[in-house]
Subunit: 135 residues, 2 copies
DNA sequence: GTAGTTGCAAACTTTTTGCTACCCA
DNA sequence: TGGGTAGCAAAAAGTTTGCAACTAC
């Protein structure tokens, strides 16, 4: 948090690689399982500690959409997500940021807006299909 | 969840009253403490169970903004929030819903959008003031 | 009367932390 | 070489659940 030196360890690098090479918005536990394939002795505590550090330094994003556990996103640039209410899958949305919303709030409120988060709760196509098949 | 009959118990009524008479977006634990002032024998499990039922039936909203615990909102109608990054206070925003954002996603994506959530991360006025005072 | 609900406590899940040994800069 | 970091395990924090007794409808 403070102005402490952060080191690049092999554990941190592996975690970052995993996150940058998936678009599944994984949980800490999934990342731990993947990391163990490369570093069998890595501990879950280390995964959590590094996810914390990487979030603080802005290299990844922490998401928590309705569930009791966090998900992580290797893309640190603000973007929007959709969450399927049936299957829980989190998807990146390729739509431009609506920065004007922040202006709207600042005008309304006098609070200083640093960023915003927007997510859409959906029934994804494949879950829609499954519902149709049932009938 | 299913088509089960739900009963109105005194515990549920008290919880609902508490939520409707605050704008602080409280945690389950805070609600429990308040409820105990009226019903000293109420248990935390009952609070959680009722918060779950009330959320399912759409009478309240569950929020979880970055923290490890949920907050609850007695206003079940979709509205936006701002969260102060310094003091953590959650505030209701009196701004109209941007339904057109949902259209944008449906066009982009073919998923069916049920609702969306938008929150703004801010430094609130009083925290801005405190920072100024330090200097 | 009876099925949904309660209080209690134990269990569960996810995340954090204390400690010693280790290793990156 | 020194201080940030790892591994391990225990603990914390938040939430869920099994069960017998109770109560709203």
């Amino acid at each position: 948090m403070e102005l402490v030196n952060k080191r690049m360890t092999k554990q941190k690098r592996v975690i970052l690689d995993i996150l940058r090479n998936t678009d599944t918005h994984p949980t800490a536990d999934w990342i731990y399982e993947q990391a163990r394939k490369v570093l069998p002795d890595i501990s879950l505590g280390t995964v959590y500690r590094n996810l914390g550090v990487l979030t603080e330094t802005g290299q990844i994003m922490e998401l928590n959409y309705g569930s009791s556990y966090s998900r992580y996103d290797g893309n640190p640039n603000n973007h929007y997500h959709s969450v399927c209410l049936k299957c829980g899958r989190v998807k990146d949305l390729e739509m431009p940021l609506h920065k004007e919303l922040e202006k709207e709030v600042e005008t309304l409120n006098c609070d200083k807006v640093l960023y915003h988060r927007l997510e859409f709760y959906v029934i994804c196509q494949s879950c829609q299909q499954k519902e149709k098949d049932k009938k």
